[in-house]
């Protein structure tokens, strides 16, 4: 499902502009969305899921116009959506919750629904807890239930907002792998603060800043933005005053700082190969 967005604006009550004339095309496959808090990522995702109406602009998903009720419903028929800060009904079991969502997604055949729910519980490693009430689930377990509900009904468009928040490292890796395998001929829009999740799964990426498109290209191109701007410095003094400190690791004789700065922040600094996080910081902290 190809997503085409042009001149998209969303202004909330009180005049807060979450999106400000956004133009973006999202092709089939995995697509990463990066941006600081308040950049407009969640609003964009909610518009694409049909939850929020834009103030102006055009959005088509798989050729369906999201400004019409029929268009939104057509998109929602093939949509899997995992919102940021997902909630569940605490008085249902995991299996019942998934069954309910599957019914609402139009999986009417009881046997097919049971089979699909069982498969997804297996995929998110919750088979053993399937008949426990969600009230007793940890945050990570609820997030896995959220992932399972998003994958019900075999969606052609999967929108996942901060999907790995609350997951332990193994779960994160397993979920990233699952997303990559799932993508294939589908569209997966992955929004996250965790740059590494994008680096490990996406070829294409967009960066939003203050409701506008700050970057659109490949992960390599974004990484390349930091070429010649990433420095390593070992010092026992204070961190470099110039640039953005990416990391600070204890090191023999002081601390090793990784810094993104347009020029060497210190005579002792030596250039290093950039990573995606450096590219993102080079772009957004200019």
């Amino acid at each position: 499902m190809r997503i085409e967005i042009s001149g998209l604006t969303k202004t909330y009550r009180g005049g807060v502009a979450a999106l400000d004339g956004l133009d973006l095309t999202v092709p089939t496959g995995m697509f990463g969305l990066l941006g600081a808090n308040g950049a407009g990522k969640t609003t964009l995702m909610r518009i694409l899921a049909g939850l929020v109406r834009p103030t102006s602009g055009q959005v088509t998903v798989g050729g369906h116009d999201m400004s019409t009720g029929a268009g939104r419903t057509a998109v929602q028929r093939g949509l899997g959506y995992l919102p940021q800060d997902l909630g569940v009904y605490p008085d249902l079991t995991a299996r019942q919750f998934l069954d309910y969502v599957a019914l609402l997604k139009g999986v009417d055949d009881r046997m097919a629904r049971r089979r699909r729910v069982g498969e997804l519980l297996e995929v998110v490693a919750l088979t053993g807890d399937a008949d426990r009430r969600l009230r007793g689930f940890s945050g990570g377990m609820r997030q896995r239930v959220g992932i399972a509900q998003a994958l019900l009904a075999d969606p052609r468009l999967l929108i996942v907002d901060e999907p790995t928040a609350g997951l332990d490292p193994q779960e994160r890796i397993r979920f990233r792998t699952l997303l990559s395998q799932f993508a294939g001929q589908r569209t997966v829009l992955l929004s996250t603060h965790i740059v590494d999740d994008i680096a490990q799964t996406c070829r294409d990426v967009a960066v939003l800043a203050r409701g506008r498109l700050a970057f659109r290209g490949t992960v390599d191109e974004l990484t390349h933005r930091a070429r010649g701007q990433v420095w390593s410095i070992v010092t026992d003094g204070p961190p470099p005053a110039e640039g953005t400190v990416v990391s600070a690791l204890p090191h023999e004789g002081g601390t090793r700082y990784r810094v993104v700065a347009p020029a060497a922040p210190d005579p002792r600094a030596r250039p290093v190969e950039p990573a995606l996080e450096d590219g993102y910081l080079a772009l957004t902290t200019r």
Binding site: R46, A49, G50, L51, V52, R53, T73, Q76, R77, L79, Y81, P83, D85, L86, G87, V88, Y89, P90, D91, L92, Q96, Y100, V101, L103, L104, K105, G106, D108, G146, Q149
Partner: protein, 275 residues
């Protein structure tokens, strides 16, 4: 109604019923109310099983019982339903459900019917249970028929009306405030005498079902000398109090159901406008 809409309604009804019926308060609140009723009054309940005191007709006994049960338990009923629609937002489940192709209107109606039915189960269990005991105790099986008829024309329309208000009004005010206002409304609308102050008692919009009690069930109080609907000399709002006849009784039921539908439509519109 399309088949997809019907399936959405059915799924929502089924799961909302299941969630609500498991809620402890749904059972505890009516149980405490009944206990309180027995402690502070409940004279009718005692009289029903006293040969010398009970009404001569089984119809009068079970319909009178319905009036007392409905008047008391509806307060808790409205309060218990006040969080059911807004809780989808509070629990942060709404985005997941709203992102499905299921029609929001069908989901709302399913939630309404499911939660209303589940919350009514203890009330109906209390009422029909007492009516059954009465029928056995007095050897009057037709009392159960009257009890079912009372459920159909008095209890069900009243509870459906209350449920619609309780589900949708908290969309525009905090649920605790709604509960306080609802208790006040219930006492004002059902207990206050129309010649004392403007009130909905004895009008077509009387959720205790004055018109069906009077004109369909021929109920005129335990002693047989009360009226439950119709104009009151020197009262305001008498334009809402036509003479009780079977036609006005059915009109009253229709008005309650139309108001319930209007409240749901309003709630649906409020939710849609927030998107």
């Amino acid at each position: 109604m399309t088949s997809q809409t019907a399936r959405t309604l059915g799924a929502s009804l089924r799961y909302e019923f299941r969630m609500q019926i498991r809620k402890r308060a749904v059972w505890i609140v009516p149980a405490l109310t009944v206990a309180l009723f027995l402690l502070i009054g409940g004279s009718l309940l005692r009289d029903l099983f006293d040969k010398g005191e009970r009404p001569a007709e089984a119809r009068t006994a079970v319909v009178g019982l319905a009036v007392q049960v409905l008047a008391l338990l509806s307060i808790g009923y409205g309060c218990l339903l006040a969080d059911r629609l807004i809780r989808d937002d509070r629990l942060r489940v709404a985005p997941v459900l709203d992102a499905t192709p299921a029609r929001p209107g069908a989901r709302l109606v399913g939630k309404y019917l499911g939660t209303a039915a589940a919350t009514a189960v203890p009330i109906l269990a209390v009422y029909l249970g007492l009516a059954a005991v009465y029928a056995v105790h007095t050897g009057a099986p037709h009392a159960l028929g009257w009890a079912l008829a009372t459920c159909a024309v008095v209890i069900a329309p009243g509870l459906l009306f209350v449920a619609a208000l309780a589900l949708t009004v908290p969309l525009i005010m905090p649920a605790p405030l709604f509960r306080v206002i609802f208790v006040g409304y219930w006492l004002w609308g059902n207990v206050a005498a129309p010649d004392m102050m403007p009130t909905l008692a004895r009008t077509l919009i009387h959720p205790l079902g004055g018109y069906p009690l009077d004109a369909l069930l021929d109920f005129h109080g335990i002693d047989g000398d009360d009226t439950w609907a119709g104009p009151v000399p020197s009262a305001t709002l008498n334009f809402l109090r036509p003479d009780p006849t079977p036609t006005t009784a059915w009109l009253s039921i229709t008005v309650l159901l139309v108001l319930a539908a209007a409240a749901l439509a309003g709630g649906h519109a409020v939710r849609a406008r927030r998107a």
